[in-house]
């Protein structure tokens, strides 16, 4: 019982951090909040190892904490250093947060209905993973800046890890491939951010 409450509380914390990410215009806090979010998810996997004794969870937890919480945060902080102002040059972040809250409330009802009809015998905490995945997509779609968009992608991947962790433990090889791919893409993002700080969407060659 206590174990379930710990996991549910951690899942809830992860979703709360995702709201902070949508409503934050400054880059550095976004990067760090992503690090915190990944750390909590890694700790959830470690907790599952403690509760179940499956070594796969421990390896996954360590990999998530070291790669996503530390390595990705470090790479992104290095990338924005000296290249950007302190915040995204977009107005109305607060109103985006309200849109996001409404969307999440709607998603919650839909997902809860879906889970109660399809996944009858599944841990209710799966909903946190699904919500986080959708929050990641929302962050990338709602925000125009390079950093929020890539954080949205990392958040989406975090949602998948959380979803997979609560639903079914995948073979470790597949999990490892997914983690390494995300790390590879972040390194590439670092290169792109260094070469091109912000986006110009009015490029004639990329229209139509």
């Amino acid at each position: 019982m206590l174990e379930e409450q710990i996991l549910s509380l951690a899942g809830l914390l992860v979703v709360i951090v995702s709201f902070f990410l949508v409503g934050q215009a400054y880059y550095k806090p976004i990067v760090r909040a992503q690090g915190v979010q990944s750390f909590i998810i890694g700790m959830i996997a470690v907790a599952l190892y403690v509760f179940s004794g499956k070594i796969d969870y421990l390896i996954l937890g360590i990999a998530v904490i070291s790669l996503r919480s530390f390595a990705i945060s470090f790479a992104l902080e290095r990338a924005i250093k000296g290249r950007f102002g302190f915040r995204e040059s977009v107005k109305g972040v607060a109103s985006l947060l309200i849109i996001d809250l409404i969307a999440v409330a709607f998603f919650f009802v839909v997902i809860f209905y879906f889970e109660s009809t399809v996944f009858q015998e599944v841990n209710d905490d799966v909903i946190f993973g699904t919500l986080l995945l959708l929050q990641g997509l929302m962050l990338s779609v709602l925000r125009k800046g390079t950093i929020p968009q890539i954080i949205g992608y990392v958040e989406e991947e975090n949602g998948i890890v959380l979803f997979g962790t609560f639903l079914v433990s995948l073979p470790l090889l597949i999990e490892a491939s997914a983690l390494l791919d995300v790390l590879g893409l972040i390194v590439l993002t670092y290169i792109i951010i260094r070469e091109k700080p912000e986006h110009d969407n009015k490029l004639d060659e990329l229209v139509g």
């Binding site: 989406e156 491939s177 060659e205 990329l206």
Partner: protein
């Protein structure tokens, strides 16, 4: 046993070629030629089902990937200079990327197929960004974000498949015929997720951008190999959940229609060919799904050579005339062999007889007549629009008001690829008869 060794060699040779091309760029050509030989051997002697799953579709795609990589490497030695990374790294990344594609079409595990497809994205980001200007970086960013997020959705489908079927081995997943809400959700997410990379609506928006801005060699490999290989993964998802046929056909049909409508108003020739890729690959996928694998494979194979010729010719135009605009080439164009190559490529990718694309499309449309007449009407209309659009624009390019002479090796490599597409078509007609 021998065939399994050949498979491991198929994966090892590009790694060696890539590593040695850091020192000597021509080694990528030599090693990719070795892979063409290995691919042909595997075609006639495929490995038994185990770690690999090499059916008729995979066999053709292995040969296709090896052949196109060889042509592109040969062209690159003359075309590629230092870009966002040193020239040697271009060859290394390209060769490892070709390995990832072998993994996508041959590995017998859906999770590792996903990992290979995601790796192909990571490996090609630098290749797309190679020319490093502002527009290129924007296109690369769109490619990275859209494809990564799409393929992440595909990973959710893999989790759901594993939860429901307790395996990710393709040969164990295919043919079960189990209908459950989770398999329905997994196959829909798989269609949307893998479909992003396969050029299926709504996630295909990255494709015209990346094709326009990547070097011609990368665009040709994307169109000829990468996008069709992702379509094979979508086909595998359909094989796992064949009861979802309508969803697959509707989305692919809609992709063909929207792509052909976009072709008419294009101002940039590489963008025009990118939309043509969407059209051809989706018709090929529909062919596989409606049970016309011969037509689909002929279409994929000849389209690969035709589209390679189209993009490699475009590369010569861009290099010599320093433009990507159709109207600029209409004023000042290029002479034989590049103009001939572009014209033949245009005929090849629009399904003109006697090119193989014509044979493939004819077989698919004939089968489709017995499956869905409304979809057949949509495809015939779209193919007609695409034919007129591509050939109209290309005719403007090959009949310029002023012509610059260029008889370098790049034009002849493009021409050879276009002629190969024609030859395969003639052989296909013989086989079908």
């Amino acid at each position: 046993m021998m065939s399994t060794v050949l498979m491991y060699l198929l994966f090892a040779v590009p790694l060696l070629g890539g590593a040695s091309s850091l020192k000597w760029k021509f080694s990528s050509v030599a090693f990719s030629l070795v892979n063409v030989i290995l691919a042909v051997l595997i075609f006639f002697n495929p490995p038994p089902v185990g770690a690999f799953f090499v059916d008729d579709v995979s066999k053709v795609f292995v040969v296709m990937n090896a052949s196109i990589t060889f042509i592109v490497m040969l062209y690159s030695t003359e075309y590629i200079k230092d870009g966002i990374v040193k020239e040697g790294w271009y060859y290394l990344l390209f060769m490892i990327y070709s390995d990832a594609i072998y993994g996508v079409v041959t590995i017998n595990n859906l999770g590792l197929v996903w990992a290979s497809l995601e790796a192909s994205t990571a490996l090609t980001v630098i290749l797309v960004a190679y020319e490093k200007d502002n527009v290129t970086m924007e296109a690369t960013w769109r490619y990275l974000v859209i494809v990564s997020m799409g393929v992440s959705i595909a990973f959710v489908s893999i989790i759901l498949f594993y939860y429901d079927l307790h395996t990710l081995t393709l040969t164990s997943m295919i043919g079960r015929g189990e209908v459950s809400p989770i398999t329905v959700a997994a196959s829909l997410l798989g269609l949307l997720g893998f479909g992003t990379k396969a050029g299926i609506f709504p996630g295909y928006t990255w494709l015209p951008d990346a094709h326009t801005e990547a070097p011609a060699t990368v665009s040709s490999s994307f169109s000829a190999v990468l996008v069709p290989s992702a379509a094979v993964v979508v086909y595998r998802i359909w094989e796992i959940a064949p009861f979802m046929t309508e969803y697959f056909l509707v989305l692919s049909g809609f992709s063909v229609l929207t792509a052909s409508l976009m072709m008419a108003r294009q101002k940039y020739f590489k963008r025009l060919f990118a939309y043509s890729t969407l059209e051809n690959v989706n018709i090929g996928l529909i062919g596989l799904i409606v049970g016309q694998p011969l037509g689909a494979l002929i279409l994929f194979f000849t389209h690969a050579f035709g589209k390679t010729a189209a993009f490699l010719s475009s590369g010569v135009y861009m290099e010599r005339l320093n433009t990507k605009k159709i109207e600029d080439v209409e004023k000042v164009g290029l002479s034989y062999p590049t103009s001939t190559s572009l014209f033949l490529a245009s005929l090849a990718v629009t399904g003109t007889p006697p090119f193989g694309t014509f044979v493939g499309e004819l077989l698919i449309f004939t089968t489709l007549f017995h499956v869905s007449v409304p979809l057949l009407i949509v495809l015939l209309t779209s193919a007609g629009i695409a034919f007129v659009s591509v050939n109209y624009h290309v005719t403007r390019m090959v009949k310029p008001r002023e012509e610059k002479a260029y008889s370098g090796i790049l034009g002849y490599i493009s021409l050879a690829s276009a002629i190969l597409s024609l030859l395969v078509g003639l052989i296909a007609i013989g086989v079908v008869q």
